[in-house]
């Protein structure tokens, strides 16, 4: 099963579709996922996902917007989609019946008492 950050990357790539590449995925992870994402973490995780066959990457043509530099484009493979769905279903299953109420969110148990 994939890890949490791997899942975020798979989801960002799937969300962006044909426009999935490093900077855009980072933007999605940070704005939608609400967590910081360094390029180091992003690209080393992408390499790992690619080695597992969960994503494919390739270089695009250079663009003017990037000062004539190419993008590393990303596409989620069928295997990657299955792994992401497995992770998502596991989270949904394990969360069923759990209510993250105020009592669980208090920093020290028994504070209310």
């Amino acid at each position: 099963m994939v890890g949490e950050f791997e899942y975020l990357i798979l989801s960002a790539a799937a969300h962006l579709g044909e426009d999935a590449y490093g900077a855009a995925m980072r933007e999605v992870i940070e704005t939608t996922g609400g967590r910081t994402c360094s390029l180091g973490a992003l690209y080393t995780t992408l390499d790992r996902l690619e080695a597992k066959g969960l994503v494919e990457t390739w270089m695009s043509a250079p663009t003017q917007q990037r000062g004539g530099r190419a993008r590393r484009m990303v596409r989620v493979t069928g295997e990657g989609a299955r792994a992401a769905r497995e992770f998502y279903q596991a989270v949904v299953r394990i969360s069923r019946g759990t209510v993250w109420g105020e009592s669980l969110l208090s920093p020290v148990r028994g504070d209310a008492a």
């Binding site: 900077a23 360094s38 180091g40 973490a41 080393t44």
Partner: protein, 227 residues
């Protein structure tokens, strides 16, 4: 003057310099990503350095950097410094008595062995682990600087100690260019390697025998490439 995405020109130059630590393709991708997002110079620099550190850490999970720096560069520098002193001593004796054929033979053979050993070690260090060459250079320079600082003025001038440096750098340069040695040359160097321990006389045998591996590594990889 401003660089891309609002980063100052000096900041962007720093980022580009730091990106030199990355592989060329990755460098272009990362600089492109930074150029199209507005995250400031410090964060950009942090991104580049963070990625470079992660790449280095990944390299050190393999046996190759350890073998290149601590298994070869470090012991070879000690061995080659000793041989540089021996070779330069033989040459100095020859200059004192130029008519002696045995001294001529001794000087030439020692010089030849130092040069070929240094070239071979540099080549193997570079071929085994190109990405961590900096660590191998440090492992080689450490003992050299120690010896130069510890025994100044004992007849061990830098030139006498460091005869091996130039051929070593040449070997590193050839290894970095992904030059493949022909099996003939590789086997020749592998066969030459044991001559140094044989000529080293008393002591240092274990150390010298340990240093036979680069020769056999060269021969094995050249023969495998031939297949």
């Amino acid at each position: 003057m401003r660089g891309p995405c609002g980063i100052s020109s000096a900041g962007w130059r720093c980022i580009e310099a730091a990106a030199g630590l990355l592989a060329p393709v990755e460098r272009e991708v990362v600089l492109g990503d930074l150029a199209e997002t507005d995250r400031g110079g410090w964060r950009g620099l942090g991104d580049v350095l963070g990625l470079a550190s992660r790449r280095q850490l990944a390299l050190w999970r393999n046996w190759r950097p350890w073998a290149a720096s601590f298994g070869l560069a470090l012991p070879a520098s000690l061995f080659l410094m000793g041989w540089s002193v021996a070779a330069s001593g033989a040459v100095a004796s020859l200059l004192g008595e130029p008519a002696q054929a045995s001294l001529l033979w001794l000087s030439l053979s020692r010089l030849f062995l130092v040069i070929s050993w240094a070239w071979m070690s540099g080549f193997v260090v570079s071929a085994v682990s190109r990405g961590t060459l900096w660590a191998s250079v440090l492992a080689c320079c450490g003992p050299c600087l120690y010896c130069l600082s510890e025994w100044p003025g004992h007849g061990l001038s830098g030139l006498r100690l460091l005869i091996f440096v130039l051929p070593g750098v040449w070997g590193v340069w050839r290894g970095r260019r992904d030059v493949r040695l022909g099996p003939g040359w590789a086997v020749f160097l592998a066969a030459l390697a044991p001559l140094a321990p044989l000529m080293s006389g008393k002591g240092g045998w274990l150390h010298c025998c340990w240093l036979l591996w680069p020769g056999w590594y060269l021969a094995a990889t050249a023969l495998r490439n031939q297949e």
